[in-house]
Subunit: 201 residues, 2 copies
């Protein structure tokens, strides 16, 4: 019997996935959580064989949670199950120690197989996403550029960003300009969009 932990912030999806997986005779959902910062405690308490984690979660994202789980409970294998096939997500998830990466629009029938493969120690990775990841490459943005661009996501002005990050306006403009150049964009908003699409933020 393979023991599973489910982490997804959408209760309905979480419950539905539990129902789906519990249909399999060799799978058993032993714990469910709805936030990233609840994952580790639940893992330590229930010691699941495989943890299925969403990337987008309140508290802590699934990738940070993956790293924690791998560090504190090495026998637990991690399968990322996410909505967005962002290339950067895949890369960072694997670097954090995830064993598998499945997008939510894969057929339901394949999920159980993915779980079993991950449990056997195999790697499960969406093929399309793997190639995208190679194309998109690692984030070209420096930490500071990333931070500034992230602060620009909500449509703030340069002045606001500067205050929030304790930088001069000129510096913010410089970082934004660099980020715009590196993303191949011509506008701040465009840079935000492509950077997000590649999972660089």
């Amino acid at each position: 019997m393979i023991r599973l932990l489910l982490a997804d912030d959408q209760a309905l999806v979480r419950g539905a996935l539990a129902a789906l997986l519990n249909l399999e005779p060799d799978l058993e959902v032993v714990a469910e959580v709805g936030a990233g910062d609840e994952v580790l405690a639940a893992v330590l308490e229930h010691r699941p064989d495989v943890a299925l984690l969403d990337v987008e979660m309140p508290g802590m994202d699934g990738i940070a949670a993956t790293a924690l789980v791998r560090a504190k409970s090495p026998r637990t294998r991690v399968l990322i199950v996410t909505t967005f096939g962002r290339p950067g997500f895949l890369r960072r998830a694997l670097q954090a120690g995830a064993h598998g990466f499945v997008v939510k629009d894969t057929p339901a029938a394949e999920l159980a197989d993915a779980v079993r493969k991950v449990h056997q120690g195999l790697r499960v990775v969406d093929a399309q996403l793997a190639t995208d990841s190679l194309v998109a490459g690692e984030s070209p943005l420096t930490p500071r550029e990333t931070e500034v661009l992230r602060a620009a996501r909500d449509g703030s002005t340069v002045a606001t960003i500067a205050k929030r990050l304790f930088l001069s306006e000129g510096t913010v403009r410089n970082h934004l300009s660099a980020a715009i150049g590196k993303t191949g964009a011509t506008t701040r908003a465009e840079a935000v969009i492509t950077a997000e699409g590649n999972g660089w933020l």
Copy 2:
């Protein structure tokens, strides 16, 4: 036995919801589709009692699909099941003839009840969302303002938007300025975000 149709673009979620609902002795999923423009054909073929539709779908959104289903198959009741609790979505869904509106982070146990209530002809609406909907109100944007703001979502410049919509740059700026004022924003990007958040785009 209540016969159900499921429409959601994420195959995994769709399959999981089917598993969840099929656990109920009085519910039966008779059809599944992954795009909005497949909904009507499937409804006409299988004549489900209740159709569970996601809002965000390729082809046609769930709200437009709702209107179609209500027009062509009045006996089929529609329950919207969506990720985003945008006030405008609720309003438009109800106007299109939906009988229920459930957000994906409601507990899984409540979904079956919602389906049964909708089947009985009752209205099921997320309480929090209903009040939000009243607060946010109808979109204050004129059709043209909406169109221009929508064209600005990808971070285009005024010049690009003007060309795409065959307007002068000044006119585009005027519409954007009006939209910014009506949304209470100070930037185009901010206006886009709040308008999207309210389901006005």
